[in-house]
């Protein structure tokens, strides 16, 4: 999982920068005038009660919903590629197909996302699914499905990660896996924004942004 590194000295600038962001869903303003910058090698955790707009913010960052106001910049993105071709978005819907095996799912996702394809077998070992690689993904448990979704981060290396509740449905070991993945990514110079209700247990204390439910 390496494409994003470079020593700190010669590393190009990289950050997710948000300025004056306003998001509206269903006619209701849920985020207003939000500003932050998450630079290279750092993570930001989005916290806050249900309905505070964590998922909506991630959807907006991922380009799925159009913000009402403000701008979102991916600093240092490869201008040659399509917008969001270096952004990973892993949300509640895992994009895993039943009737395909875990391995086929991952191979398809790697090919679909494009770019340099990482080692599918190694990724399955890392997320702890090597024993289920040839099992129909429809038979995977919720936690295993989540692990398979996370394996996408390994087979299609991209610098910017947007993770919505990455530890949802995972056991303690799985939560540790998420922390290891994020730590390794940050050490590689990646940028991570994750919505979570739990302390992810990252090596460095990440910045955290507490969203509040607007009236």
């Amino acid at each position: 999982m390496s494409p994003v590194h470079g020593t700190p000295e010669d590393a190009p600038p990289r950050a997710i920068a948000v300025a004056g962001l306003g998001i509206e869903r269903g006619g209701r303003t849920i985020i207003a005038d939000l500003n932050f910058v998450v630079p290279r090698g750092e993570a930001m955790l989005l916290t806050g009660p249900n309905g505070a707009g964590k998922s909506s913010l991630l959807l907006a960052l991922g380009g799925f919903i159009r913000p009402l106001a403000g701008r979102i910049d991916y600093v240092g993105r490869d201008a040659e590629t399509r917008p969001f071709a270096d952004v990973h978005f892993i949300g509640h819907r895992p994009a895993i197909k039943p009737r395909l095996t875990a391995r086929e799912n991952l191979q398809f996702m790697a090919a679909l996302l494009g770019g340099p394809v990482g080692d599918v077998a190694a990724a399955l070992v890392t997320v702890g699914l090597s024993h289920a690689a040839d099992l129909d993904a429809g038979y995977l448990s919720a936690g295993q499905t989540r692990r398979l979704a996370l394996a996408r981060l390994l087979v299609a290396p991209r610098p910017f990660w947007l993770l919505d509740e990455p530890t949802a449905a995972l056991d303690d070991e799985g939560a540790g896996l998420v922390a290891r993945l994020i730590d390794a990514h940050l050490a590689d110079g990646g940028v991570v924004i994750a919505a979570t209700h739990h302390d992810l247990g990252l090596a460095a204390n990440p910045e955290s942004l507490a969203l509040v439910a607007l009236e």
């Binding site: 799925f64 509640h92 895992p94 994009a95 197909k97 009737r99 395909l100 494009g114």
Partner: protein
């Protein structure tokens, strides 16, 4: 480009493993042909006159039925979001979906059409023209279905709305499709109809991926 190929491969593999979906459409298609002689009487002359229209109605309805599965699953499980973050443009990936959908919904109908021809007492030359007109016309139906499916994918009952939405747009396909095989038509006008049908298909095939991509990018909003 790898995403394009992978998407076609995946859709074919999924359809092969679930099996019944494509078969349902074929059965529907053939069933219409089985029922019509009972409804209008077994008069071979009458059936021969009606045959082109019946084949096209059967194909038309079968394709409308299959339309909902084009984007529904990918939308529900989040694959569409991944498609929007792919390195390949969304329109290209949708073109892959269109090809896969044609292979899975129109090609089986073409393969099953000899059965229908037999049931409707078609002669060989009419049958060949039927296959040709289906071959040229079904891509247009698939393309229109792609737009309809993309526009309605975020609606809960979109499966019913999409066919209604594209019905008026698909009527020209039906008209030219039937004129291309109708025995009453002269050879010249049948050829014209075939050419127009092909033109319609080419035009819609180019337009549909872009229109559908636009519809899908706003579908989360």
């Amino acid at each position: 480009m790898s995403g394009f190929v992978a998407l076609i491969g995946r859709d074919l593999r999924l359809a092969w493993r679930s099996g019944s979906d494509a078969l349902t459409l074929v059965l529907f298609f053939v069933m219409v042909g089985v029922i019509v002689p009972f409804a209008v009487g077994p008069d071979p002359v009458l059936l021969k006159t009606l045959a082109p229209g019946i084949v096209w109605i059967a194909a038309f309805l079968a394709m409308l039925l299959g339309l909902d599965r084009l984007f529904r699953d990918d939308f529900d499980d989040g694959t569409l979001m991944a498609m929007q973050h792919a390195e390949a443009p969304l329109a290209l990936l949708i073109a892959a979906k269109v090809i896969a959908h044609w292979l899975l919904s129109a090609l089986p109908l073409l393969i099953a059409s000899p059965v229908l021809a037999m049931l409707l007492a078609m002669d060989v030359s009419t049958f060949l023209r039927t296959v040709l007109s289906l071959l040229l016309g079904t891509p247009a139906l698939t393309a229109l279905g792609t737009i309809g499916g993309a526009v309605t994918v975020s609606l809960r009952r979109g499966g019913l709305i999409a066919p209604v939405l594209i019905l008026p747009l698909a009527v020209p396909v039906l008209i030219f499709g039937v004129s291309a095989i109708a025995p009453a038509m002269s050879v010249n006008s049948a050829t014209t109809a075939l050419l127009l049908l092909g033109a319609l298909s080419l035009f819609l095939l180019v337009l549909a991926p872009f229109a559908a991509a636009l519809a899908l990018t706003v579908s989360e909003d």
